[in-house]
Symmetry: C2
Subunit: 119 residues, 2 copies
DNA sequence: CTTCTCGTACGATAGACATCGTAGTACGGC
DNA sequence: GCCGTACTACGATGTCTATCGTACGAGAAG
């Protein structure tokens, strides 16, 4: 029946429940440079960022695809706010399932960014 | 001239140097269930195991492929010992580059194994 | 209502990858 | 030298995935 919209928005998107999140899917989602970069920025921000906030070197269609991979793997949560779609890392769920994993990956990414050319 | 074989063996295999190891490649290598399982066993053992020690549900060709992906991403080191090929996790290099990452992933895999059916 | 922005959906495409089977090479033992 | 074991190399195949372009839908602003 789906009564009452959760957060007050209209259309909402399918997310895996916490128990459905699979480590292999998370690692796969993070193994793409573009997606890893997105997650780094989202984690650094801590809050929610719109898709259009990111200036990725691919078309909008491709961007949508990458965000979907991140959402379906359980790494991020996506919510519509008016015309924009806001994205946030599912830190609670990830830390609950895999303590320390996200932080290790983010730290590793930061280290590698410094080690290579960088940013 | 290549004088003196390092460990006493003859043919040796191409490995990335420590500085060439890329986080994305490591995550990608670990995102396959079979490969993750192999790495878990190798890490649990701590030493070296032959390819034939693993009883994977795929043919030998496919096994060879997976071990190569692990080697080329820098996750494991492979050495010939007579007719057998021994495999070991490159713990020093991984811990040096990405402190805590490998342990987080292994812990996450162990947790998930318990959480699901398990083993 | 029209228009603008933001993002989706769908179809196409090219490349990557997991898988197999067969044939071959290296090494150790007989 | 010959055979068996361990693993590789190569070619084929089906699936997945990253990418694009175009056309569409939902909401805000005029």
């Amino acid at each position: 029946m789906t009564i009452a919209a959760p957060t007050g928005s209209s259309r909402d998107l399918p997310h895996p429940q916490r128990a459905e999140i699979r480590l292999e899917a998370v690692l796969h989602a993070l193994s793409d440079p573009l997606r890893l970069q997105v997650v780094r920025e989202l984690a650094a921000d801590g809050g929610e960022l719109s898709c259009s906030h990111f200036d990725l070197p691919v078309t909008k269609s491709t961007t949508t695809h990458h965000f979907r991979v991140l959402r379906e793997s359980g790494v991020i949560r996506q919510v519509y706010r008016g015309t924009a779609k806001m994205n946030g890392v599912r830190r609670d769920d990830l830390d609950g399932l895999f303590p320390g994993l996200l932080d290790s990956v983010l730290a590793a990414a930061a280290r590698q960014a410094v080690r290579l050319g960088s940013r």
